[in-house]
C-alpha cells in the first residue's frame, strides 16, 4: 500500500533521514520506535508530505506522493493523521471539527457528515461532547476526538505521531484502547510511539529507527526479546 524507497530528508546541513526503504501492507500495524532525534516523526510526516523529502520516493496506492504533479490534497484525504498535541481547531465545536473536512472536500453532504460524526463519537464514548469546544475537554478526550476526526475522512491509512506523549499517564489507556480497536478492525496504521507495551501487543511489525536509518525491523517478539544490534539492546534497556 505504501512503498518507501531511499527516502532522505535534510534540514539545512543536518541529515535527519538517511535512506529509508520499506513497504507497508494493507491492514498492517507498524510501530516505529527509537530515541528522540532519530527521525521517527520526520519519517511519518514525509509519508503524507507534511515534510517534503530531499530525495527518494514514496508511492501510495500506486501514486507517487513526491511527484510535484500529484494532487496532494486528494492523496491526504486517504491518509488520516493524529498529532502529539491533538491540533483540534479551538474555534469550532467538536462536531464542526469533525465535519469541516468531509463537507469542504465534497466527500459528504452536511447531514451525512454529521450523522457519521455522531456515530463515531458514540463509538469513543464522547457523543455528549458534540457541542462542546476543544478547550472544555481533557487531553485524553481531545486525542480521541482527533482520532475520530481523522476517521471521518474514511482514510485508508492512519498515521499516529506520538499520540500519547502529551497526555497525563491516567489518560493514556483510553487513547490506546481506541487505537487498539482500530487496529483490530483492520485499519492500516503507522504509529510512532514510546508505548512499548502497545507496540509489543498490537503491532504486526516494529521498526527501530536510529540516526535516520532503519537499524532493525521485524515482528515485535524478535525486536523486544531477541534484539540483534547493540544499539537496540541499549535503547530497550533504557525504556523497558
Amino acid at each position: 500500500m505504501i512503498d518507501v524507497s531511499k527516502l532522505c530528508k535534510k534540514f539545512g546541513e543536518t541529515t535527519v533521514l538517511n535512506g529509508i526503504s520499506t513497504h507497508i501492507d494493507k491492514g498492517e500495524c507498524v510501530c516505529i520506535i527509537g530515541p528522540s532525534g532519530s527521525g521517527k516523526s520526520t519519517f511519518l510526516r514525509c509519508l503524507n508530505m507534511l515534510e517534503t523529502p530531499t530525495s527518494g520516493d514514496i508511492i501510495f496506492d500506486g501514486v507517487p506522493m513526491t511527484d510535484p504533479k500529484t494532487d496532494i490534497n486528494r492523496m491526504r484525504q486517504k491518509m488520516g493523521m493524529v498529532f502529539q498535541h491533538f491540533n483540534l481547531f479551538p474555534n469550532m465545536t467538536i462536531l464542526k471539527n469533525m465535519t469541516l473536512a468531509p463537507v469542504r472536500t465534497r466527500l459528504k453532504t452536511k447531514s451525512e457528515a454529521e450523522e457519521q460524526a455522531m456515530s463515531l463519537l458514540n463509538r469513543v464514548g464522547l457523543a455528549d461532547k458534540a457541542g462542546a469546544y476543544p478547550n472544555q475537554l481533557s487531553g485524553g478526550q481531545k486525542q480521541r476526538v482527533a482520532i475520530v476526526r481523522a476517521l471521518c475522512m474514511e482514510p485508508d491509512v492512519m498515521l499516529f505521531d506520538e499520540p500519547t506523549s502529551a497526555l497525563d499517564p491516567e489518560m493514556v489507556g483510553e487513547v490506546l484502547d481506541v487505537m487498539k480497536n482500530l487496529a483490530m478492525a483492520g485499519m492500516t496504521m503507522v504509529v510512532v510511539t514510546h508505548e512499548m507495551g502497545f507496540a509489543r501487543e498490537v503491532a504486526n511489525r516494529v521498526m527501530f529507527l536510529d540516526e535516520g536509518v532503519i537499524m532493525e525491523e521485524g515482528d515485535p517478539h524478535n525486536i523486544f526479546y531477541e534484539p540483534r544490534s547493540e544499539r537496540l539492546r541499549s535503547f530497550l534497556s533504557k525504556v523497558l
Binding site: 517534503t52 483540534l88 481547531f89 474555534n91 473536512a101 472536500t105 469546544y133 478547550n135
Partner: protein, 254 residues
C-alpha cells in the same frame, strides 16, 4: 433666545457680565443659534459613513494582502507559484509606499490629483483612508497569522483541506481573535483620521466646526465640542469592540 440677544448685546457694548453669562452666550452661539447643532450632526454622519467605508476597504485589503504574503512565505520549496510571487511583490510595494508617506500627503494626492474631478469628497476620503488603513491592518493580520500554532495548518492540510480552506476556516478566525486589541487600536486611529478629509472638502465634523467658526469668530466652543463628540464616538466604538471580543471568546469558556 431673549437672554442670548440681551447678553450678547451687553458683551458687544463692553458692559460687565458674569462668567456664566459669557459661557451661555458662547455656547448658544456655537451650538443652538440658527440650529447649528444640525451641522455637527451632519458632520458626525459623514464621519461615521467614511469610517465604515474605510473600515470595510481596510479590512478587506488587509486580509487579502496578509494572506497572500503569508501564503507566499509558506510555499513548499521547489514549488514557487509565479502569480503568488507577482502579487507578493505588488503588495510589498503597496505597504512600503503607504507606510512611508504621510496620510495627509496621500489625502491631498487622492483629492487633488487622482480624483481631482470627483465631487464626492466623502467617498474619495473613505477610499484614501481605507487604502491607508489596509497597509497597517495587513501587517497586524500577518502577525496574527504567524502567531497561530503551526500544528493548526498541519492538521487542516492532513485532513485533505486545501491551503485556502485551511486559511479561511481555521487560521484566519483564530488570528483575528488574537489581534482584536491591535485591530481596535487601528480602527480608533481610523475614526479620528477621518478628520483629515476636510482638507479635500469632505463635510465631516471638523469641517462643520470650522464653518461655524468662520461665522462666529469664536473657536473655543466648536473645537471643544468637536473633541467631546470624537471622544464619545471612540468610547462607543470601544464598547462595541468589547462586546465583539467577548463573542469571539465564546470558545474559550471552560
Amino acid at each position: 433666545m431673549e437672554l442670548y440677544t440681551a447678553w450678547k448685546a451687553m458683551i458687544a457694548a463692553g458692559d460687565p457680565v458674569t462668567a456664566w453669562q459669557r459661557f451661555y452666550v458662547l455656547f448658544y452661539q456655537a451650538f443652538i443659534e440658527k440650529d447649528r447643532w444640525q451641522q455637527y450632526l451632519n458632520g458626525v454622519g459623514t464621519t461615521l459613513y467614511v469610517t465604515a467605508m474605510a473600515l470595510l476597504i481596510g479590512v478587506f485589503l488587509g486580509i487579502i494582502v496578509a494572506v497572500v504574503r503569508t501564503a507566499h512565505d509558506q510555499q513548499r520549496p521547489g514549488r514557487r507559484n509565479i502569480v503568488l510571487g507577482f502579487f507578493n511583490a505588488v503588495f510589498r510595494i503597496y505597504v512600503t509606499v503607504i507606510r512611508g508617506t504621510p496620510m495627509m500627503v496621500q489625502m491631498l494626492i487622492m483629492g487633488f490629483v487622482i480624483f481631482s474631478s470627483s465631487k464626492d469628497f466623502a467617498l474619495v476620503g473613505a477610499l484614501t483612508l481605507g487604502i491607508n488603513s489596509g497597509a497597517y491592518t495587513s501587517e497586524i493580520i500577518r502577525g496574527g497569522l504567524m502567531a497561530v500554532d503551526q500544528g493548526q495548518m498541519e492538521a487542516g492540510r492532513s485532513l485533505g483541506l486545501k491551503y485556502a480552506d485551511t486559511m479561511f476556516f481555521i487560521i484566519v478566525p483564530q488570528a483575528i481573535k488574537a489581534i482584536l486589541p491591535s485591530l481596535g487600536n487601528e480602527f480608533i486611529v481610523l475614526l479620528k483620521d477621518t478628520s483629515m478629509i476636510s482638507v479635500i472638502g469632505g463635510k465631516e465634523l471638523v469641517y462643520a466646526a470650522r464653518a461655524i467658526i468662520s461665522r462666529t469668530y469664536e473657536a473655543m466652543f466648536p473645537f471643544f465640542g468637536t473633541a467631546v463628540i470624537y471622544l464619545i464616538l471612540v468610547m462607543i466604538f470601544t464598547w462595541l469592540l468589547g462586546i465583539f471580543e467577548r463573542r469571539l471568546r465564546a470558545s474559550d469558556r471552560r
